[in-house]
């Protein structure tokens, strides 16, 4: 799977860098769901998530020239763009005024939307395997857009502890890749 993806991924990237707009369609087909999932779980609103996804795809298209394989994987790069745009939104004043107070895990999946993978439970389970403090730290960092400094202050723990908790939490995620 990895090899297959890599070949088509390289071709895809080249096509995008050549400003071939057909490549965007392929990009969308392959990755939009992954991006949308992250976005939605952060912004917690279907409409807003759609807007953000659009912005993210456009930003990928515009900045494809900046993507450098030496600096990381392609999907990870795109996920960072999606993640950052989503966090920017939830931290914005406009969003805070229309704050939706549902928890991300319970909100997934929303009515009328399908997951590609019915393994949503698997995620919950996995995260639940972590002790609560790891879960909490990870959730705050990943889904709620807290900076590490803010987490340290909120939980009244040293910054170093925040960093190591995030390290351990992310290490757990590698188990998914192994599957």
């Amino acid at each position: 799977m990895a090899t297959e993806q890599k070949i088509s991924e390289q071709e895809l990237i080249t096509a995008l860098q050549n400003k071939d707009s057909k490549a965007v369609s392929l990009l969308y087909d392959q990755y939009a769901a992954a991006l949308f999932g992250v976005i939605f779980r952060i912004v917690k609103s279907k409409t807003l998530a759609e807007d953000v996804l659009q912005e993210v795809i456009v930003k990928i298209w515009e900045n494809i020239g900046l993507y450098d394989p030496q600096k990381g994987r392609f999907l990870a790069w795109m996920l960072r763009i999606a993640h950052n745009k989503s966090i920017d939104l939830v931290r914005s004043n406009a969003y805070k005024q229309t704050e939706l107070n549902t928890e991300s895990e319970e909100n997934c999946p929303e009515i009328g939307m399908e997951t590609t993978n019915i393994d949503a439970i698997g995620i919950k389970e996995l995260l639940n395997k972590l002790s609560p403090e790891y879960q909490e730290t990870f959730r705050m960092a990943y889904f709620e857009g807290y900076t590490q400094v803010e987490i340290a202050e909120a939980l009244n723990i040293p910054l170093g502890t925040v960093k190591s908790r995030i390290r351990i939490g992310l290490r757990e995620l590698r188990k998914f890749a192994a599957v």
């Binding site: 991006l35 949308f36 999932g37 763009i81 995620l173 998914f176």
Partner: protein, 264 residues
């Protein structure tokens, strides 16, 4: 650089989550370029994040794809179109620019040429006018001269014009001059045909003897053989004489310097 220690700081996780600030990002990216171990570690972290995202993927509503593609296609034409448009737009502009430059240069050149031509014309006009003026005055001069000469000839061939040859004196035997004197008009003319060139500080002076006394008739300025010079008129000359005087002439003749003489 202790890579293991660097990894232990958790900076790569922070980077993978997109949470590093500008400074940190630059630092990480610089080190990634240098250390394969860092790249390998980041790769594992990112694979975990990717798998996580894929596991919780949600399909966006189908209509969204079209909206996104439209937005992108509205923004930027494909490279082909871009190339074509750019090329098309480029060419006429370049052509026009070159054309304007050429025309500008041409205009300047023509203007300069025109100026030069104008100047030449003015110059020629001036020269023509000068020529004409010269011609006119020359013509006038010639006419004047002719009139004078005719008058002279008429006078000379009159019966009442006497020709008096002045012969050289004892000291200047070879010198000669001729005086024409008209009884009625009293005009006097001299031809210095036999007079040699005087010294630079000397002049020939013509005298008429009237009642035994010398009368100044002027300096003989011109001693060219074919020239007749008109001198002062005199009523009843008994004789004519030429003396050599200091330049500018004298009031009374220096008799020792008499060169020629002739009775009427």
């Amino acid at each position: 650089m202790d890579i293991k220690a660097y990894i232990k700081t958790g900076i790569l996780e922070t980077y993978a989550l997109g949470m590093t600030n500008e400074e940190e990002t630059l630092e990480v990216e610089t080190l990634l370029a240098q250390y394969p171990e860092l790249r390998a570690e980041l790769e594992s972290i990112e694979m975990g994040l990717e798998a996580f995202a894929l596991k919780q993927a949600i399909l966006p509503p189908p209509s969204l794809k079209e909206a996104v593609l439209n937005k992108i296609n509205g923004q930027e034409p494909t490279k082909k179109d871009a190339k074509k448009t750019t090329k098309l737009n480029y060419l006429p502009t370049v052509f026009l620019v070159i054309l304007s430059l050429v025309l500008a240069v041409l205009a300047v050149w023509l203007y300069l040429q025109n100026n030069t031509a104008k100047n030449d014309i003015d110059q020629l006009k001036k020269e023509i006018r000068a020529c004409e003026a010269t011609q006119t005055s020359q013509k006038q001069l010639a006419e004047n001269e002719l009139t004078e000469k005719n008058k002279l000839i008429t006078l000379l061939i009159q019966e009442n014009t006497s020709k008096i040859v002045l012969v050289g004196t004892e000291n200047h035997p070879d010198m000669k001059a001729i005086v024409y004197w008209n009884k009625d008009s009293k005009e006097t003319f001299i031809s210095g045909v036999g007079l040699p060139k005087p010294m630079p500080n000397q002049d020939y002076q013509l005298w008429a003897i009237v009642d035994g006394k010398p009368l100044n008739l002027g300096l003989v300025a011109n001693i060219e053989p074919s020239i007749l010079s008109q001198m002062k008129s005199v009523s009843e000359p008994q004789a004519f004489a030429i003396t050599l005087e200091p330049k500018g002439g004298s009031v009374a003749p220096t008799l020792e310097n008499m060169v020629t003489m002739g009775p009427v």
